[in-house]
């Protein structure tokens, strides 16, 4: 996963991988931490000044109001050479960083460790696709294990054989 995250940073993932990786970041606090840590490393290497506390949260909040998903297109840019160096450096740097972060004021730590819930649904927007042609089969297989059957008997099976599924 760490390899994927650094590839995502460099804009090297193909569209499907890109979607998976973004979704993982929105669901997995640990992955999101890695993502932030990598950016911190990147910034440190490039000597970028540290952003103010809660910067990421404020950007997310603004993004949440935007109607469209901001999905960076895969591009090869000047940052690319960083990647190979980063994937090697990251494992070493991460160890050092943990030690370092313990001593910096909480403001720095906040950038690296904002809670996963700070990621708004805008990032998590997903493609709607037609029902799989085997949806009826999946539902039939699933229904047997749904505790709702205990309250409703066979009634929920109405979905399983419903017309949109064409009784397929």
């Amino acid at each position: 996963m760490n390899e994927k995250i650094s590839a995502l940073m460099d804009g090297e993932l193909e569209a499907r991988e890109h979607e998976r990786c973004c979704a993982r970041l929105s669901a997995d606090a640990e992955a999101l931490d890695t993502w932030r840590t990598y950016h911190l490393i990147c910034d440190a290497l490039r000597d970028t000044s540290v952003l103010s506390a809660g910067f990421a949260d404020r950007v997310w909040a603004k993004l949440a109001d935007e109607p469209d998903v901001l999905a960076p297109r895969a591009r090869r840019d000047a940052r690319r050479p960083l990647r190979r160096a980063l994937s090697i450096a990251a494992s070493i740097a991460a160890v050092a960083l943990v030690g370092w972060m313990a001593f910096v004021p909480p403001r720095g730590a906040e950038v690296a460790q904002a809670p996963a819930k700070a990621v708004p649904e805008a990032v998590a927007q997903v493609a709607r696709v037609p029902l799989p042609s085997a949806a009826g089969d999946y539902l039939l297989a699933h229904q047997a294990y749904s505790p709702r059957g205990n309250l409703q008997g066979v009634a929920p099976y109405v979905r399983t054989v419903s017309e949109p599924l064409g009784g397929k």
């Binding site: 297989a141 309250l151 066979v154 099976y157 979905r159 054989v161 009784g167």
Partner: protein
């Protein structure tokens, strides 16, 4: 100042604790009553299913006798379709595709999750309260509310017949309070027992030369084959893991997670066995969300009566590592 507010809050909570506990106790008592009625009473009735885009009427017949319990569901609108259940076996008769699909519940570790003794565990994930009274299908009902404690599951509003405990309406709602799907009986007759012949499918004779799709379900241990996944959502636990046939030739692994009321299934199958390309993304039918994606040359399809975000979240925990 803050601590004083806190103390007042604690005091208030302590004062109301006694009555609230009683309230929850009453409400879970109603859930048990519904459970007993659904499994022990013989009845016939008509209900309407609504999911926002459409509504569909069905007739349901339930018979309990010495040999076990039989249940039949007949679609009254549109194409003729029937579902017949005897004990753990379910048969779907689908004249349009001239198919009988046979499914059997097996490989269950802690099912039924809603045994009366376990109903109290629902309180982990839902606030269970008694609502007011209402009239459904000319019967006096008690309203019971299961309000989710987080946005990771749907809420349920149930209307139970005061006399028999039969569930006459069930509404599933999302975190905005909007109805996701609803079942409502328009008429219900509890007892006397319907004749056994009324529980046979009217399509049985016609289906003699139809295609039969047997699920051939058997217990499985997917972790041993390299597949791991996590329930991720608080209160959800693994309740079953099986291998089964989908259609006639697709061998599929299925792991089921449940919080005691909602369930989510994770299906894993090799891409090679599929006749159609995998379309990654989200689809839904009623309260059921379906999320598909590809992992290690396999199609992963997560199906569950849970909000899209929850279904998707579980989908992204699926990982494959070749077994050692």
């Amino acid at each position: 100042m803050k601590s004083r507010v806190f103390l007042v809050a604690i005091a208030a909570a302590l004062c109301s604790f006694g009555s609230q506990a009683q309230h929850t106790h009453d409400a879970t008592g109603w859930l048990k009553k519904i459970y007993h009625a659904t499994s022990n009473l013989s009845y016939t009735g008509t209900f309407v299913y609504q999911d926002g885009q459409r509504s569909e009427a069905s007739r349901v017949t339930h018979l309990v006798d010495a040999s076990g319990d039989y249940e039949k569901l007949e679609a009254l609108d549109g194409a003729q379709r029937e579902v017949v259940r005897f004990k753990d076996e379910v048969k779907c008769y689908l004249p349009d595709s001239q198919t009988v699909k046979i499914d059997k519940r097996t490989g269950v570790r802690s099912f039924p999750a809603l045994l009366p003794a376990q109903i109290s565990s629902l309180a982990e994930s839902y606030r269970i309260t008694k609502g007011g009274s209402a009239r459904i299908a000319n019967l006096d009902c008690q309203v019971i509310l299961l309000t989710p404690k987080d946005a990771m599951r749907y809420g349920y509003q149930l209307w139970a017949d005061k006399a028999t405990g039969m569930l006459l309406r069930a509404r599933v709602f999302n975190d905005k309070g909007e109805t996701v799907e609803q079942f409502t009986f328009t008429e219900l007759h509890v007892g006397p027992r319907p004749g056994r012949d009324r529980l046979r499918s009217a399509l049985e004779a016609r289906s003699k030369d139809w295609r039969i799709e047997q699920a051939a379900v058997e217990p499985a241990d997917l972790a041993a084959t390299g597949w791991t996944m996590k329930a991720e959502i608080p209160g959800f636990h693994k309740v079953a893991e099986v291998m089964r046939m989908l259609r006639e030739s697709r061998r599929v692994g299925q792991t089921v997670f449940s919080d005691g009321l909602a369930a989510v299934s994770v299906f894993i199958e090799p891409l090679a066995g599929r006749t159609e390309p995998l379309q990654a993304g989200l689809s839904s039918i009623g309260a059921v969300n379906i999320y598909s994606l590809e992992v290690a040359n396999h199609a992963v399809t997560v199906v569950g009566e849970a909000p899209a975000a929850s279904v998707r979240r579980i989908a992204y925990t699926v990982e494959y590592r070749p077994p050692q």
